[in-house]
């Protein structure tokens, strides 16, 4: 960012409210110091509601995550609902679901950054956090799923006394490496834009609190060279992480697509899973932003209906793309004419848990399409959050239909059995709680708004008067 801060002209009021450029964050800037204080205040203000929520979540994490997992490890997978033929249950549903959630973080942050969509600025941080925190849940879920989790490190390729590498033929191994790569990349990608904000907090922190921030800020002082390097690094990462992001969910989909199972062995699974991931991830961003906006102090300044509008549009777009792929998923078996695929379709639509299929379509397609087409509705944060909840339920069910439900049907009809989850339900609650708890804790220690990015955006924007109209112009200050 340029070292000198220009004072921006105050825009004049406009008649047409929906085109008022001041609604846009970029056009009603506040002094930097004031904005920094607003963010810091939101970090340091903890109401009793916060403590109750954190306490509840901590309790849920301790019972539904820590204890339930202990119970699972102590007693074996028998306490879960997995069986033959449904060897993979909700654990894998959760894994795919959380990887999906983690997708949107990078999507919003990296793709919108690369494409220079200005509306992204206030919510990139929240989205990036979602990537990291979501991946934590995904990783935990995949470990919960393992029969002998205490030997999970055998999946790492390291020289060992057994003289054995992992098998790189296994899609699970690809999956394992992809998730690890993604976790590593996304954590770094989260950290880079965090540095200036950490430096900002460091400069304002008092007493012992200074120490961790000093370490984390890596001595960032805001010199021209440092900004330059940061931008270069972020540009590289933003471009580099996009293929990683697309590949990781494609690889996750290969866990299924590579298998010789009806309903899984499909070449369309890669893009289908990516779109599915974006679908749930976008919706999750909407929920998280709504929660941040409505619970944290000063956030209504940073997160405005206009941002929700942007996310709402993306949600609608992704929902349509998802619907296309789902339809595609019907075309392929129809064209292939495989007997088992047909039975599987019949089972999902008419089997004992047929209603899941309908709930999935209603949540994933009907609700977004009915609500998101209207700008006023999608600009309403609470409405968008509710749509987001429905989409996430729908997408979770979609994974449930793909994994445990499809596993019921195999080529040996004698073994077909329904899956009835047990402890997995608690562990699902546990991962959701841990995800939210991590957010709650993060909101106390790091600014959830990348305040320097917002300021950068504001500084590079001006309103120019051209004839009677006021137009927003962008100055590239990098």
């Amino acid at each position: 960012m340029a070292a000198t801060a220009k004072s921006l002209p105050q825009p004049r009021a406009r008649v047409a409210e929906h085109e008022d450029p001041r609604v846009h964050l970029m056009h009603d800037p506040r002094p930097r110091g004031e904005m920094n204080d607003m963010v810091l205040e939101s970090m340091h203000t903890a109401t009793w509601r916060y403590w109750i929520a954190t306490g509840t979540l901590t309790f849920l994490v301790l019972t539904c995550f820590v204890f339930a997992w202990y119970y699972l490890i102590a007693n074996g997978l028998g306490v879960a609902g997995v069986n033959r033929p449904v060897y993979w249950g909700i654990f894998l549903v959760n894994t795919v679901f959380w990887i999906g959630i983690s997708h949107a973080g990078t999507f919003i942050s990296a793709i919108l950054r690369v494409m220079k969509i200005e509306g992204r600025r206030p919510f990139t941080r929240a989205a990036e956090l979602m990537t990291t925190f979501g991946l934590v849940q995904a990783g935990a879920s995949i470990f919960m799923h393992m029969g002998r989790v205490w030997l999970a490190y055998w999946l790492f390729p390291f020289p060992n006394e057994r003289g054995l590498w992992p098998d790189f033929h296994s899609p699970l191994m690809w999956d394992f490496l992809a998730i690890n790569t993604y976790l590593l990349c996304s954590t770094m990608y989260l950290f880079l834009p965090l540095i200036p904000d950490l430096a900002m907090v460091r400069d304002r922190a008092k007493g012992w609190q200074k120490i961790p921030y000093r370490i984390l800020a890596l001595g960032f002082r805001g010199t021209e060279g440092e900004w330059k390097n940061l931008h270069t690094a972020m540009n590289i990462f933003a471009f580099a992480i996009i293929p990683v992001m697309f590949s990781v969910h494609t690889i996750v989909s290969w866990d299924f697509a590579m298998a010789t199972r009806p309903g899984w062995s499909s070449t369309v699974f890669g893009p289908y899973f990516v779109i599915g991931a974006l679908h749930s991830g976008m919706a999750a961003v909407a929920i998280v932003l709504f929660l941040i906006r409505s619970t944290m102090k000063n956030m209504k300044y940073f997160l405005r209906p206009e941002h929700f509008n942007l996310i709402g549009m993306l949600m609608l777009l992704v929902s349509m793309a998802w619907a296309y792929f789902y339809f595609n998923d019907y075309l392929v078996p129809w064209y292939g004419g495989d007997k088992w695929e047909k039975i599987l379709q019949e089972f999902t639509e008419k089997g004992p848990i047929w209603w899941l299929w309908y709930v999935m379509l209603i949540c994933n397609v009907a609700i977004p399409w009915l609500i998101l087409w209207r700008k006023k509705w999608r600009s309403t944060p609470w409405l968008l959050a509710i749509v987001g909840v429905f989409i996430n339920i729908g997408m979770w069910i979609e994974r449930y239909v793909i994994i445990p439900e499809a596993l019921t049907i195999n080529r040996m009809p004698f073994t077909w059995r329904i899956y009835i989850p047990h402890v997995e339900i608690f562990l699902t609650i546990g991962t959701v709680s841990l995800f939210l708890l991590l957010y709650m804790l993060a909101s106390r220690v790091i600014p959830l708004i990348p305040v320097w990015e917002v300021q950068e955006g504001q500084e590079s924007h001006t309103l120019r008067r051209v004839g009677k109209a006021e137009l927003s112009t962008l100055t590239n200050i990098e």
Binding site: N75, G78, V82, Y87, H145, G163, H169, R261, F414
Partner: protein
């Protein structure tokens, strides 16, 4: 250190080149569904029982199970011939490449699928990928006498030739590899090669109808090779090209459902 690591070599042999060594023929016309093979297998291979609830939930540990289906309604109802279903010991086994830790591997010497219990970390991918659904997972510590005190005396019967599997690992039919190895050792000590009939897995040994024939299928004169030439022979899910080592002979019991 690097020399110590033996990277596995995967050779892609097409099915024409392969003459797998051990194979089985199951005559569904003879199988009476009596469960003697299931019992014998469980007794030979330390297969644990799981109890009523888990058994009803698809968690029974049978390495071999006997399937049957129905068609029609009374009085024209027909039962399909009993179909003992066990690991088909595929040459192109779908279970093998998906294991991330080499627990499910192919034996070059027997041309069977092996499950290395102490490598298994329990991802259960192999079982998902098995089109025959013949892999069974230790959902609980079914063999732990601390948790199941009634096992204390029952465990006197455990065979020392077969690993007792603990919770969290996958297992499956081995073609009674301990018997194969023993026969190989006996033959080696007598300075001869294995003769037809030297190895009989527990299931074939018990079968009162003698519906299961076992032997070397690389020997064209063996009993099993001859039986596999039967015109009634077929492979389960042949369309998947897993090249199973078990040939089934169509049964015609109870009508024309063979």
């Amino acid at each position: 250190m690097a020399n110590d690591l033996q990277l596995p070599v995967f050779t892609n042999t097409s099915e024409q080149e392969v003459s797998g060594k051990w194979g089985m023929v199951i005559d569904q016309d003879l199988c009476t569904g009596c469960q003697a093979c299931v019992a014998a297998c469980s007794m030979e291979n330390n297969v644990p029982f799981v109890g009523e609830e888990d058994a009803n939930y698809g968690r029974s540990m049978h390495w071999i199970r006997i399937e049957r289906f129905w068609s029609g309604t009374f009085p024209e109802v027909k039962m399909t011939p009993y179909q003992p279903m066990l690991c088909q010991q595929c040459h192109n086994a779908p279970c093998e490449p998906v294991c991330p830790v080499f627990a499910s591997v192919h034996s070059a010497s027997e041309d069977t699928n092996l499950q290395v219990y102490n490598r298994c970390v329990g991802t259960r991918y192999c079982a998902n990928n098995c089109p025959y659904q013949v892999r069974v997972f230790n959902w609980r510590d079914y063999t732990d006498a601390r948790a199941r005190p009634w096992l204390t005396s029952l465990q006197n019967q455990l065979s020392p030739d077969v690993t007792v599997r603990r919770r969290g690992v996958m297992e499956k039919c081995t073609f009674c590899i301990q018997r194969i190895h023993q026969a190989e050792q006996v033959a080696a000590s007598e300075n001869r090669s294995i003769a037809d009939g030297d190895v009989t897995p527990a299931c074939a040994q018990a079968c009162p109808a003698d519906a299961i024939v076992f032997g070397r299928i690389d020997d064209p004169n063996s009993r099993v090779s001859q039986a596999a030439l039967n015109a009634r022979g077929y492979h389960q899910l042949d369309e998947l090209r897993t090249t199973p080592r078990i040939t089934y002979l169509h049964g015609a019991s109870n009508g024309s459902n063979g």
